[in-house]
Every structure is written in structure tokens, then in C-alpha cells.
Amino acid sequence: MTVAVLHDFSWQRMINAVEAVDRRQAHCVAAFLIRMKLTAFRTVDRVHLDDLLSVQLFDPSWTDRFPPEFASRLAAVFDVHEVWPDDYVEALTAAGFQSDEELVEFQTICRESGDQRLDTLPWFLAREKAHEKVRIA
């Protein structure tokens, strides 16, 4: 057994394991902080949550990590977030849309028909009025 383990040893696997622990630690810290901010939820806390969202430390896929009573607060945070125009245009183009109008039309069709393809878009493109939630100042 020991021989087999030693035989399997590689520095890369060791590094990967350490990094995995680091990532788990970072996730725990981030989730704890987000939960505190969702609990207080003053204007300044909402700004902090928006900051965390801006640097992509969390996103709507994290919603299930928090108790259901936070869902509406999380939804409010995701709803008001404004993306930088570069990020919006890059995501829009990568998704194959030529214009805001094409995106809106796609969203409308998906919502009306229950088309799951909407879920394949980056979250900030999939939300309602996505094209209006782009920073202009």
C-alpha cells in the first residue's frame, strides 16, 4: 500500500491538493462575508455585495448556498448590478448577438416558450432589461 502511494506521488498532485484547500477556504470566507452582508443589508452592505459581484467573487449560481430567506435580497443585488460596457459587449458578441435588440428578442422567445437556452447565457445577459444595466458613468 505504502509503495503504491509513493509510486503515485507527484508534486503537481500535491500542489493541486493544496490549491484545492485554499480555494475551499476562500469559498468559505466569501460565503460567510456575503451572508453577513445579506443579513445587515444596509446601503453600504449592498454596495459591498455589488463590489464582490463586480470582481466575480460570487454570482447567482451561489443562491442555493444561502438560506431561502436571503433569496429576495440576493435577487435585488443581482438586479441592480451594472456591468462594464466592455464586459457586456464581449459577452453579447460571444453569445452570437449582433445587437441589444437581438438579445431582447431571444429573451422574450425563451421566456414565452420556456426555452432553457436562456440559462446558457452569462447571468447578466439572461436577466430582464440586461441591456439597460450597463454602466454609463
Binding site: D22, R42, F58, S61, W62, D86
Partner: protein, 215 residues
């Protein structure tokens, strides 16, 4: 929804150093742009988060809130002349989705640029009032900065969460108080009252700027 970029970064040991470097980079971009504009003689005023930092620092330098944005108010008619002097100094003009900006050298990211707003215009069609005149400014620390009251009006106009927090910061350090409400356009006075109503003095700020507890 897709979850394309959620690999959290490793926790770093040089965090404070990186924060300091980021702050210095923003300040350096601000000062470099302002020096060019000062030399050109074109009127301008630093606005946004850096203007807030300027005013907050007059009272309590420890109470400032970091910003990565460099925002400048100019007159639209000066844009061609300004583009000429800024580009001669290494900045590059770019317009993307309603934002006019000067990119800082080879850097292409919008968030690392000098953003322009135009005096006397509404930033969004739904804004309650237009932006102030460039002349509503005062000499700051190496650059022209928007006057405090004009800055408050801009914050009340955009009124995003970040703007509300900036107004709260100004109240916390005593830069503004309830008396300002009388000098605001009626469209903005209601929003200002909302800020006053939400105001919670920080521990140690045992004053009552808002008059909320007056009998």
C-alpha cells in the same frame, strides 16, 4: 445560469501591498490627466469618487472610500481640443455604449480609463437634473475639483447605491447637514430627505447633523 468564472482566487499574503499599488495607480492616472488639462487651459472638474475623496479628506482623511474610477466633467465643445492634448500625452480617445473616455496608453479596459461627463447635460434621459457647469469647481490638490454642493447634486441625480453611500459618508464626517436641503432643487430635495432619514451616525459620531432627533 452559467457559472463561467467562479474559481475564487487563492488568498494572498501581499493583499495590503496590492491595495496600495492599486490606489497609487488610480491617483497617478488622475494627476497625470489633470496636469495635461491644467496645462491646456481647458476648463474641467474632477467629479465622482475622487471628488468625494477630496472633500471627505478635508475633514477626515481616514474616512475616504477607495474608487478605481477617474471621472472628469468637461464642456462638450472642448472635446476635440481635449482629445488632441490628451492623445499627444499618450491617452487614447474611445467611445463605447454612451461612455466617452480616454484610455490610458496601451490599456484597453474601460475601468482603467479617464471617463468624461459633459456639463449641462443629462447623463441618462431619466435624470432629474443635468450635470453642473464646469465653473462650479474649486482648486483642489493639484487639480480642479467640483464644488461640494454641485457634487451632492450629481450624487442625488445618479442616486445609485454607491452614490447614496457617498452622501452618507459626507454626512458622517459632517461635510453636509440638513440645512443643505433648502438649497437643493426641489426634484432632488426629496432624495436628500431619504438619505437623512436613513442616516445612522457611526459609533463615536455623537452628533445629530440631520436634526432627526430634534423635539
Amino acid at each position: 445560469m452559467t457559472n463561467a468564472y467562479l474559481t475564487l482566487p487563492r488568498l494572498r499574503e501581499d493583499t495590503m501591498e496590492r491595495i496600495n499599488e492599486a490606489f497609487q495607480r488610480v491617483q497617478e492616472r488622475l494627476r497625470r490627466a489633470a496636469a495635461i488639462l491644467e496645462q491646456s487651459g481647458l476648463p474641467y472638474a474632477v467629479i465622482g469618487g475622487n471628488a468625494v475623496i477630496h472633500w471627505i479628506s478635508q475633514v477626515n482623511p481616514a474616512a475616504y472610500r477607495f474608487t478605481q474610477d477617474v471621472d472628469v466633467l468637461i464642456r462638450r465643445e472642448d472635446l476635440p481640443s481635449m482629445t488632441k492634448v490628451m492623445e499627444a500625452a499618450g491617452f487614447r480617445y474611445r467611445h463605447v455604449r454612451g461612455i466617452d473616455m480616454f484610455l490610458d496608453g496601451p490599456i484597453n479596459k474601460v475601468q482603467d480609463a479617464v471617463h468624461l461627463l459633459f456639463a449641462g447635460e443629462k447623463v441618462r434621459p431619466t435624470d432629474l437634473v443635468p450635470t453642473p457647469a464646469v465653473e462650479e469647481s474649486t482648486p483642489g490638490d493639484g487639480y480642479q475639483v467640483l464644488s461640494l454642493e454641485a457634487l451632492v447634486r450629481m450624487k442625488l441625480t445618479s442616486f445609485r447605491l454607491k452614490d447614496q453611500t457617498h452622501l452618507d459618508d459626507m454626512l458622517q464626517v459632517g461635510l453636509i447637514d440638513k440645512s443643505l436641503k433648502e438649497r437643493l432643487p426641489i426634484e432632488l430635495a426629496e432624495r436628500y430627505q431619504q438619505i437623512l432619514d436613513q442616516f445612522e451616525p457611526h459609533l463615536g459620531n455623537d452628533f445629530d447633523f440631520t436634526g432627526a432627533n430634534e423635539s
